[in-house]
Symmetry: C2
Subunit: 340 residues, 2 copies
């Protein structure tokens, strides 16, 4: 590659783009599908061994600002986000695509760091980035870098997770502290008077979800990204027409996140996470699944935070310290735009 | 939906986003996968009947400016582009994802038109949009609307298309006039002194590619988008280490495109198309494949424009009217940024 900045030529379909693809994407994402330089990846169905298995397909675009932060960057996030969308549905993530929209003038060194980070995270999560696309837009037509990842996974035939499986009596589990990602982004934006060193929880959860499903019957899982645990619980409550009661005292919340949220008037239950899931688990299996979670580095602080019931009006309620109850509504607007 | 403009709340993960998804995406893309409102689509492998079939996976982001133009809009383009990436590899396109990055303030009516257009084009092409994602960024952080589509198709086991199949003696076929899309975009941008009514060739080619493959042995196909026929031929020449000779007199070029390209000093061979493919076909099958192309509405003006040879130095050459030869190089930069 020549030059140190992305130019419009890098999105031209011509020589400069070919070089960018070879010197960056093919180099780091290193796999036989990409090096063919075709417009599509051709994947053997042998990896989907059983014709009664299902295919999971998910997509996510990432527009986070800033593009690097404590605990991650937009590339790591783009891999983890789509891996997690697949994993929480019971799928084993296999293949990712990566679509880049780049602002003219972006430092090539920055792009290289992010591509490297995607490659590392993909390897760690056991997925291959097998096809991609690069567009470059004029300075000012996008903010630095947006990345779309889409993913394909395989769902073994005996698995059936989803809202329809959630039942009264199910326990509500999370795999650790809430609101870390949102707090890390606030700090990275320099919008807080206080300094701090909270790290984003950005992580791929597919190893954890496999452990959980071996340990016991998981009825449904969702990753608690935009809208946080509040959005997940309200979606599940609305779709299943069941109520969910969360216990304030059981919520795992990092001390620093608690301080920031109190100061800014934010509710950690609404704050975005990028490595946290909410699981709805049959009561009789909840202890076993929780123990499995706690045995994994990404679930050390896992907790049971509530329970599903068939109370007459489906709603999400938080029980406070002194037995008080408040309704936790679906968030309406955006606490923090461009959080992912 | 309330209001007439997209707000940051529409990308929040909360109520406003849920409503946008239900009132727009689920309404128009109408299929059982989407209406489940899960983060992933779960697809039966039964549609991939044979375990020796392969899966094709492609992705494309669309950043075209303007977002509507004569003959299409960014939505139609986003469906056709990924359908074509799949089809030219020999795949039967099945499922698409759609990821929207929307600028705060975009008219909801504009977004609705584009979503409707995607739905219509998807139906016409026989694909379902089964999963999606919506992000909203501050005014000025992106230009109106970007769309990523990723797609999954099935490649029947007896098919094996690709650069590695191209041989000396192969005929080079195109399915119609070159440069229509680029010219339509130039006109839509109002950058031309002359008025005109060239329509973009934006179209899904999967029906055409099926007809062609029934008619005879197609060795490789590529859609001639950014970089045009020149980029396709140079990629194929470089990868196969074969030469390609195109005949200037055989190139199908609309009279108005010829006039525009001469006036602006553009080469139609480098201009972007969005409904044109270049096929490399065994000589003995070329007539049959060409006839099949001409029998389809999207191939009426199909033509044989050249031939592959094993000349010592792999290169792409254009033979002119009087037998002159010029080398057609890989385009280096961008003739027209944001053409797709």
């Amino acid at each position: 590659m020549t030059g140190t900045k992305i130019t419009l030529a890098h999105g031209s379909g011509g020589l400069a783009m070919q070089q960018l693809i070879k010197d960056l994407f093919v180099k780091y994402f290193n796999n036989p599908h990409l090096s063919l330089m075709e417009d599509q990846a051709q994947l053997s169905l042998a990896s989907f061994s059983n014709s009664t298995d299902k295919l999971a397909f998910a997509t996510d675009s990432f527009v986070i600002d800033p593009i690097t932060f404590n605990g991650g960057d937009i590339g790591k996030l783009a891999v983890c986000g789509t891996v997690n969308d697949l994993a929480v549905g019971g799928a084993i993530p296999k293949y990712l695509s990566a679509g880049f929209i780049i602002e003219e003038g972006l430092d090539l060194a920055t792009l290289e760091l992010i591509v490297k980070s995607m490659a590392q995270q993909a390897e760690r999560a056991g997925v291959s980035i097998v096809t991609g696309d690069t567009k470059v837009v004029h300075k000012g037509a996008c903010d630095k870098l947006f990345i779309n990842t889409s993913g394909i996974g395989v769902i073994p035939e005996n698995r059936c997770l989803g809202v329809s499986q959630v039942q009264a009596g199910d326990k509500v589990l999370v795999n650790g502290t809430l609101g870390d990602h949102a707090t890390a982004i606030l700090q990275a934006r320099g919008e807080l008077a206080l300094s701090g060193d909270i790290s984003s929880d950005c992580a791929a959860l597919n190893e954890l979800t496999e452990l959980m499903q071996v340990a016991g019957k998981v009825h449904a899982m969702r990753d608690a990204t935009r809208g946080g645990v509040a959005a997940v619980c309200n979606e599940i409550s609305e779709s299943s027409q069941l109520s969910i009661c969360l216990k304030e005292t059981q919520l795992p919340i990092h001390q620093e996140v608690r301080a920031v949220s109190e100061m800014l008037g934010l509710d950690p239950l609404l704050m975005a996470n990028e490595g946290k899931l909410v699981a709805f688990v049959a009561a009789e299996n909840a202890d076993a699944v929780l123990a499995a979670m706690q045995s994994h580095p990404l679930g050390k602080q896992a907790a049971c935070i509530g329970e599903v019931s068939d109370a007459t009006t489906p709603q999400v309620v938080v029980e406070g310290l002194y037995g008080t109850h408040r309704q936790l509504q679906m968030p309406v607007g955006e606490q923090l735009p461009r959080i992912c």
